[in-house]
């Protein structure tokens, strides 16, 4: 008899002395703020990053508002520059990077491998406090008047020329890096040491594999940006010459250090999205993930190769031409395997039994947008194309297809998929579907015109632009309005469900995986009875055992 069957047979829905779930075990604010429960910390992260998301989104809305007119008459140039810097800094470091790992990863990774918590629960609490401390610094820099360097902080603009609150924001980002490192460390140790009996490496869900891969990047890449940003602060404060040529430094050195982290950081955003989609697609196709082992290896492979392509951000900055050719080649080598994951998901739904519920709609949207993002990335990796579209709206469109079309859609898909597990409530399915479709439409209307704008030659970070670009900009801004509704709807109906939603069953999607074998929401230590794993991941096609 399988574990699942045992559980179903012997622990029928919350009858026998079921312990209180993690949400109801205590109710005080203190019990949340000092919690070492990975689930509560995941929820703390979820609340925090949602707040930061809306700050970043308001900045984006103001940017799109400003760009409706070509003459930059709505804001001053400085205000515009501060808005896109806030948008970038907040979205990258305070939303995208922690988004899936720190929320779903925290909540689900121990459950998915049958552990009762992460390996270092107090370190986990600490990492949230470190994150919030970093965020505090960054938010203070915004409150004091903002920064205008762009999220890329290129020297010597950031060290010698900007007279905004750059150091304060930098300190914030430096601190946030430590929370990534702590989370990564915690995940790696947990996966190595806390797997339940029977949970072999190749029985782990792909989501866990991607969390493991992301943790590698957290540990290996984050220290580099930390050091680079510390040097920036030192140069700004003490005039040591590292990056500013007037002090004997080299500004291209900063670009190398910055992208050595920030390119792998793209995979910090991409891999978890792939992990989420790899959970949703099999669940809503009732079929085992096609090429499970291959996808698992590919996650680790991508996390490795991503360290060798940073130079493709620097094709026109004066680096050696031969370095550029090499980086171009390596970028092709990493982009193609990423993009063909889509073939795996397509093969998964072939001959499946599809249910097109909200999470699946998000997943389908993700697949479409991610492919466009990935392939336009190949265009950018092509040297002679990059020479034209580098630093134009083409790049803006490309990375929004990856980060919003990819990561944010996966995040929303995952949020809907696991919402019943997180909260014990069901959301309104009709509203969910409407929002998913609206999101897909709004996203494309916003960002597709930007590919055209970029190829036409509109540089990014332009507040004032030539009049002939206005039409595309208006389209883009109109799309952003649709997108705003697609963000606000889920916020409202998900919150509403917390109080008025139907109570969620333990396994509303009839999905496989350990998280669906415990109660919704799970008890303090995740399982009423420690699980023993005797089934493969995505066991959708197994014969139903006789109970």
């Amino acid at each position: 008899m399988t574990y699942a069957a045992q559980r179903d047979a012997h622990v029928p829905h919350a009858t026998i002395d079921a312990p209180k779930d993690y949400l109801h075990i205590t109710h005080t604010v203190k019990s949340w703020l000092l919690s070492t429960d990975h689930k509560r910390i995941g929820i703390l992260y979820l609340i925090s990053i949602t707040g930061f998301f809306f700050i970043g989104a308001v900045a984006a809305g103001l940017l799109r508002l400003s760009l409706v007119v070509p003459d930059g008459s709505i804001f001053t140039n400085d205000t515009y520059n501060k808005l896109f810097t806030i948008h970038g800094v907040v979205m990258v470091w305070f939303f995208l990077i922690p988004s899936i790992p720190a929320t779903f990863g925290n909540f689900l990774l121990p459950i998915m491998i049958g552990a009762k918590d992460l390996a270092f629960p107090r370190l986990n609490t600490t990492s949230w406090y470190v994150f919030m401390t970093g965020a505090l610094f960054a938010m203070l820099s915004v409150l004091f008047g903002g920064i205008d360097t762009g999220w890329t902080f290129y020297a010597p603009l950031s060290t010698a020329f900007s007279n905004t609150y750059v150091s304060l924001a930098l300190v914030g980002v430096i601190i946030v890096g430590f929370s990534s490192i702590l989370t990564g460390l915690n995940f790696i140790v947990t996966v190595h040491t806390m797997r339940a009996p029977g949970m072999t490496w190749f029985r782990m869900p792909i989501f866990v594999w991607t969390m493991y891969a992301v943790s590698m990047i957290f540990l290996l890449a984050t220290p580099v940006i930390t050091m680079a940003l510390i040097l920036l602060v030192m140069e700004r404060t003490f005039k040591i010459g590292v990056f500013d040529p007037a002090l004997g430094g080299d500004p291209v050195l900063f670009e190398h250090l910055f992208w050595f982290y920030s390119h792998p950081a793209v995979y910090i955003m991409v891999l978890p999205g792939m992990g989420v989609i790899s959970e949703i697609v099999p669940a809503f196709a009732r079929k085992r993930l096609f090429g499970y082992k291959f996808v698992a290896y590919a996650s680790i492979g991508l996390a490795t190769i991503t360290f060798f392509v940073w130079g493709h951000h620097m094709f026109v900055n004066g680096q050696s031409d031969y370095a550029s050719v090499t980086f171009s080649f390596l970028s092709f080598a990493v982009a193609v395997p990423s993009a063909v994951k889509v073939y795996n998901w397509t093969a998964t739904i072939h001959k499946g039994t599809l249910v097109l519920d909200t999470p699946m709609l998000y997943a389908m949207g993700y697949i479409g947008l991610f492919v466009i993002g990935g392939l336009t990335g190949l265009f950018l990796a092509t040297l002679a194309i990059d020479e034209h579209v580098h630093d134009t709206y083409f790049v803006v469109a490309h990375f929004h297809y990856i980060m919003v079309g990819g990561t944010v859609l996966a995040f929303l898909g995952g949020l809907h998929y696991w919402w019943p597990k997180f909260t014990g409530r069901m959301y309104n399915e009709a509203w969910g579907r409407v929002s998913a479709v609206l999101m897909f439409i709004g996203f494309n209307v916003t960002f597709f015109p930007q590919f055209i704008l970029g190829y036409l030659g509109m540089p990014r970070r332009y507040h004032v632009y030539p009049a002939e670009f206005q039409l595309m900009n208006i389209m883009s801004s109109a799309g952003a309005t649709i997108l705003a509704f697609a963000y606000v709807f889920p916020f409202v109906y998900l919150l509403y469900s917390l109080w008025f939603g139907k109570k969620a069953p333990d396994n509303p999607w009839d999905a496989k995986g350990l998280e669906w074998m415990t109660t919704s929401p799970p008890p303090l230590h995740n399982f009423i009875k420690p699980p023993v794993v005797d089934f493969e991941a995505y066991d959708y096609e197994a014969k139903v055992p006789e109970a």
Binding site: N81, S328, Y343, T382, A384
Partner: protein, 319 residues
């Protein structure tokens, strides 16, 4: 002709053969990517419809061993795309190989304007005039932060760095006016740091040069500066200080004290003026003062132009 564009354009004007080639590159690459993805999108949508729950369909399938399929759909597209990697790299290297004897125009970027200097000494701000059908080499440096010189109609851009010369060349083949942008974010007025590049018939360009008037060429201006900054006191004629003559220096290898040999190009000469204590030359005592903060980038370019010009007239050697 006005190449600036109209509101309904979805494709930019192309003003050089290599811009047209870049267009062919991206269009044919787009065709390949459509070939690789459209079937997937169709298949995905089709499967989502025909295998919907509740729809009768043949769902029998065997547990396929997937390695062969996986390798095929990973390596196949990879090899197909490599053709575009190679094409892009080849065109890029073509852009990176400076033509011999092109018309060199100096560009100095600063917050938030461009200054261009033509060899005859004519200078202009933000707008640039160039002759059609001629190789034009932009020789660029920034006075403050990183900028980038971007000509969408020619499909090329290059970062303009402080303290280091970078180059970009093009051969425009369509007369007209096109946008000239700064594409690397450089602070407050980044978005208005630009103007127009006007590609003109050679005769019109000559007329423009004449009308824009200039007392002297860059090299002659450099010669005057060579005197006024006191360079000639040591580096020329019967000086009492033992300093190398610079006549004919440009492009020659210079032996260093530590045994290396450095070719005296623009960067080397600029660097020697600003940081004489670096790269000590074999056989000379280092007595030269630094001119860092004393000579501005446009004058440095003039001095380099002068030293370059001395090589054309005389064949003096360093020693």
């Amino acid at each position: 002709m006005n190449g600036i564009g109209h509101a309904l354009d979805i494709w930019p004007a192309a003003a050089s053969a290599s811009a047209v080639e870049a267009d062919h590159l991206i269009l044919s690459f787009t065709v390949l990517t459509l070939f690789l993805t459209v079937p997937i999108f169709i298949a995905f949508t089709w499967f989502a419809i025909v295998y919907r729950k509740g729809v009768k369909a043949d769902r029998r399938h065997s547990e396929t061993r997937s390695s062969a399929i996986e390798m095929t759909w990973m390596i196949g597209p990879f090899i197909l795309t490599l053709f575009f990697f190679a094409w892009g790299a080849q065109l890029f290297m073509h852009h990176k190989t400076l033509p011999a004897g092109g018309l060199q125009i100096d560009a100095i970027g600063r917050q938030w304007m461009w200054k261009f200097q033509h060899p005859g000494g004519q200078s202009e701000i933000n707008d640039l005039h160039v002759p059609v059908g001629e190789n034009v080499v932009m020789h660029m440096i920034s006075q403050d932060v990183i900028h980038a010189f971007y000509l969408p109609a020619l499909r090329i851009q290059m970062d303009v760095l402080p303290d280091r010369y970078t180059n970009l060349w093009f051969k425009a083949d369509k007369v007209g006016s096109y946008h000239l942008f700064c594409s690397e974010y450089c602070g407050t007025d980044h978005s208005v740091m630009g103007g127009t590049i006007t590609v003109m018939e050679p005769a019109a360009y000559q007329q423009w040069l004449a009308a824009s008037g200039s007392d002297m060429s860059l090299a002659s201006a450099g010669e005057a500066l060579f005197g006024s900054y006191g360079c000639s006191g040591c580096h020329q004629g019967q000086s009492t200080v033992r300093a190398p003559s610079l006549a004919g220096l440009y492009g020659k290898p210079v032996p260093m004290e530590d045994g290396r040999t450095v070719v005296a190009d623009d960067s080397y000469i600029r660097d020697k003026i600003l940081n004489p204590n670096d790269n000590l030359i074999a056989g000379y005592k280092q007595v030269m003062p630094s001119f860092k903060g004393v000579i501005a980038e446009d004058d440095l370019l003039r001095l380099v132009a002068y030293i370059k010009s001395t090589g054309v007239k005389t064949t003096g050697s360093l020693q």
